[in-house]
Symmetry: C2
DNA sequence: TCTTGCTCTGAAACGCGTTTCATAAACTAA
DNA sequence: TTAGTTTATGAAACGCGTTTCAGAGCAAGA
């Protein structure tokens, strides 16, 4: 396998000049450039990427940590990240953690080893102090409010948007409001729970633990929710659902059971996923693809750190 | 950042000895080994992985090409691959192609650049001759019959298993049999189509183009299938469905519409995914996790190439 | 006692592209 | 014409761990 030295010799130039041609450096005369290109062609030259990595001290690989890559929420996020990665000539290494600590640690270890230039954590399971330990090895970008730290992030104000959603339902006359979340634990869930409590307090509404549904991730989880609701003597009149996917599942079940939406049960989703549009679900749009783009940009941004809060937008359709 | 030289100096040994300690070479005396470990600790030494890659000429990274990582079929395959990768201390780079040629080419380019040691293609879109061009750069392992070539593969005899499934339905008395596939094009679809034609011929059954359903990938695609079937004057009595996921979707719809399974419509799935067990779907088990393991083993197996055919197993449950 | 064969260690070569520094030539502005 | 840029190019240093080769020391077997 020919290397840069061979090519240099064949073209009658120094390796530095070959390197310049390889990297499109402007200061190379046309004739030498042509000679180098010819030599590369002849020798069937292939740049040794590992030598480049060693020399540059970077790999153009960015790690992305997600709990599930199959979920539309993360799917859209990944899409945004991948778009930007392509544009900037980076590749992605995907870590699907299933919320297992070890998988997350693997990703952090790769950052430490400089096998990836930066790490984007879309949703974490590890405690924050553990993440912090790895900050010195390379940029880590997350999806939660990191204001006051030097960690970059792009995030949604989950407290504010949840509160906003509750206010909207309240303004529509709903008083018995329940909500569906994914994980019971986790930074975002905490924020939403707090928003809910504060909302109840504001309007002097009583807390009903039956109105809280956890482990709502996918379409099929909607059925479980509706099963519980139909068994209740005093069911909620509206549901705030942290994922359109689940909202769609609930809505589908409602149709099957001839439950009128929104009259018997109002549904307010989150994300504005494609399925929400198709099924006419009222939702709070979260521009996930755009968030993905920003996360990537932050991952490769040099020196500085930045925190960006993303606004959500209410999309009124027919389920509230 | 300390390097191996610094550590060697601190420990009073040569870099070779430090390298031996790092790589658990047996011939290092206990005291020197201890000294090296102490020095590494003190210097907060971190091995530069890119230097290792350059030196070894490999990266311990294996590329995995799938069309969708969110589909249970590929999810299980990936699980098997990932298990084995973990065991053998390799990392995976996942390429989700969405069946776009460019994404597949990206993966092949990384193989060419030796940024990955091998490539596992779970389902391809590129023509075979294009894949072949990259064989000289590193091992490529695929999921289709490559007997007679020097390409390693682990595959299911799709012709045989489809035929077997059709025979089973026939033996149960079904004559009007339809089938659902994913892609219309693709090596596996061709095989299955041929099996179907041959089956019809064998039993002198007429071909009905309405009994063929394409683009059946996910749970929700089951609804489309059933919609078409309910509109037919002369619907199929049994369906052979190339994914349990779709079979589950169809079965769910049947329940909603009070259609008796298998009396009004028999369903025979493929894969034996978890959902098939839960929903009691008769299916042909494909040991996807096991196939994943084998694919990975083949990817890192030195020198030789091997082709392994995997047997499927009929699991009789309650939908036929 | 002499081989033979381990065990242990270090020097040096190797993998290979990037980048800095020095230098020379060519050009521009004063 | 002189000073100051800009363009162009090569030598050499740099990033850093692995591996081969040679040799020393020591023990077991002949």
């Amino acid at each position: 396998m020919a290397n840069i030295k061979d090519v240099a010799q064949m073209a009658g130039v120094s390796v530095a000049t070959v390197s310049r041609v390889l990297n499109h450096h402007p200061y190379v005369s046309e004739d030498k450039k042509a000679a180098v290109l010819r030599a590369m062609e002849q020798a069937n030259y292939n740049r040794n990427i590992n030598a480049v990595h060693l020399s540059k001290g970077q790999t153009n690989l960015i790690g992305v940590v997600v709990p599930f890559s199959n979920h539309p929420y993360f799917g859209l996020l990944i899409e945004g990240i991948a778009n930007e990665a392509l544009r900037q000539n980076y590749k992605l290494v995907l870590f699907q953690t299933n919320y297992e600590t070890d998988r997350e640690l693997e990703a952090l270890a790769m950052l430490k080893d400089k096998q990836i230039d930066a790490l984007i954590i879309c949703s974490r399971i590890s405690p924050w102090h553990l993440i912090e330990e790895y900050l010195s090895y390379g940029p880590i970008v997350v999806c939660e409010n990191t204001r006051g730290t030097n960690v970059s992030s792009t995030f949604v104000d989950h407290y504010g948007s949840f509160f906003q959603a509750l206010e909207y339902l309240h303004s529509k006359g709903y008083r018995k409001i329940g909500y569906c979340l994914g994980r019971e634990m986790g930074a975002n869930s905490d924020l939403r729970r707090t928003a809910y409590q504060d909302f109840l307090q504001k309007y002097k509404l009583a807390f009903n633990p039956n109105f809280v549904f956890y482990n709502c991730f996918n379409f099929e989880d909607g059925e479980h929710v509706l099963n519980r609701i139909t068994e209740m003597e005093s069911p909620p009149a509206a549901l705030l659902i942290s994922s359109d996917q689940v909202a769609a599942g609930i809505l589908t079940c409602c149709k099957v059971r001839d439950m009128a939406v929104p009259d018997q049960l109002a549904l307010l989703g989150f994300d504005n996923q494609p399925i929400a549009k198709i099924m006419n679900i009222t939702t709070l749009e979260i521009p996930l693809v755009e968030i993905g783009r920003k996360l990537f940009a932050q991952a490769i941004e040099e020196g500085i750190s930045s925190q960006e809060e993303i606004a959500v937008k209410l999309i009124e359709r027919q389920t509230v």
